[in-house]
């Protein structure tokens, strides 16, 4: 078994200064039960930290699941800037 961080370390990224993922309204997250984004995100981008969701955008694998999987559509989602984000070696 390996940790998700070990897995993400095998993947190549060109990390941008800007986050391409933002929580639209943190209050919505506070009221959200279950917070499914913290489970289904394959890159563990979303982490519940006491009273807010952390967004570790650097590890995003750009699958888009959070955009439509958030029950409240509370994530402002864009592709990373051209040339940034995950860059597959195998795919």
């Amino acid at each position: 078994m390996s940790k998700i961080e070990d897995k993400l370390y095998t993947t190549r990224y060109r990390v941008d200064h800007n986050t391409h993922l933002k929580i639209a309204d943190m209050e919505v997250c506070r009221k959200c039960e279950g917070k499914p984004c913290t489970i289904f995100c394959p890159a563990k981008v979303y982490i519940w930290d006491e009273d807010h969701i952390r967004v570790v955008y650097e590890g995003c694998l750009e699958c888009g699941s959070c955009r439509i999987g958030c029950p409240y559509f509370n994530i402002t989602w864009n592709f990373p800037r051209g040339g940034y984000g995950v860059q597959h070696k195998f795919g």
């Binding site: 439509i68 592709f79 860059q87 195998f90």
Partner: protein, 433 residues
Amino acid sequence: MEETFDLVIVGGGPAGMSAAIVAARAGIKTIVIERGEFPGSKNVYGGVVYVHEIEKILPDFWKDKTAPIERIITDSRIVFANDHGAMQVGYKTDRFSDPPNVITTHRAKWDRWYANKAKEAGVLIVNNTVVEEVLRESTGKVIGVRTGRPDGDLHCKLVIFADGAQSPLLVRAGIRKEVKAEHVALSVKETIQLSEEEVTKRFGTKPGEGVTFEILGSLADKMDGVAIMYTNKDTVSLGIGANLEQWKKSKVTPYEMIDKLKEHPMIKPLVDGGQTKEYVAHWLPEGGYDTIPKLYGNGYLLCGDTAMLFNALHREGTNLAQETGRLAGEMAVRAIKEGDTSERMLSEYDANVKNSFVLRDMRKYRKFPHLLFNNPMIFQTLPDVVGDMIEEMLLVDGKSKKEKQKIIVRNIRKKVGLCRLMGLAWRAWRSVK
């Protein structure tokens, strides 16, 4: 940008690049806009490519020593697994080795090689660029795209959208509806390094030949697991996914799920000791025929995953992308040469796709996604029942065969119910006939 192009293609994957090659060969001034560092850098797939469709564009490509072919698949298996065992049905033949039928490749290497073929044909490929907006004139006709680069507007006669299963661009432009969670499967995949000899040995193949496994069942905590395992030259592609609507209710994360898969008694001996070289995630657009958007409009065409063209039953996606890309390219040539890129003219593309195996197959399997989605029994109860049945048959414990038969039928009755089972069989038949 001051230069003008006849054809702008959004996305440098198999669909977009196929369209580009066809168009450029016919003298159409073509540009492909790719958001990754190079074509393939943003693509993920299970791992098999179908030779027939590629040969329509690159005849005898598999004889080209530079083609990044991993292994030629001569052994295909379907696996029905529960969490402690698996039933395999497979077919091995040497009829698929020369000429090859199906090959494994790595998307990042394949798309890059394919893009070089496009460059040879005269296509201009611009990487590191995201298309942000669709440009329309006052009549609503699509006349180009706006990219993220400064002065990044591109005007053209026709746009082909080949930008993948999730296209927020097309949703914003009102060309496609946003995807629903139940229409996609979220999958994660690891490329696991062994060595060429080790892969050949463990999978029992000839050197250069390989095996594919399509795996269905309750692979992890009774989630609807659909997994694949494909052999590459010196690596194994191992992927597992489930419907996104399921993931929303899950207690297991995708990375935990793939780790559990690696511990499965059938999988473990094949990948144990290997080193994970890459971990990726992607969607499989599983919604089927009913989720396919309109494939054309005034000044534009859609092809590949963007058009939700994916055959869930046969796990075919790249060949549908390749074929519709080719058809879109041919349509582009005709429309641009005749000076008519109106919706009426482009409807011919839709007819061509409908008549091809692409939509014929998707229409045939129209009900299949519903079958999987509405019958959790397939993933949750059936694998155990089948497993128990086979184990009972194989177990030598002194009971007579007639006794064993009774036990099996009793088990099926108790866990599934004979009528329910027959009902499922009937629905399954209906969904694929």
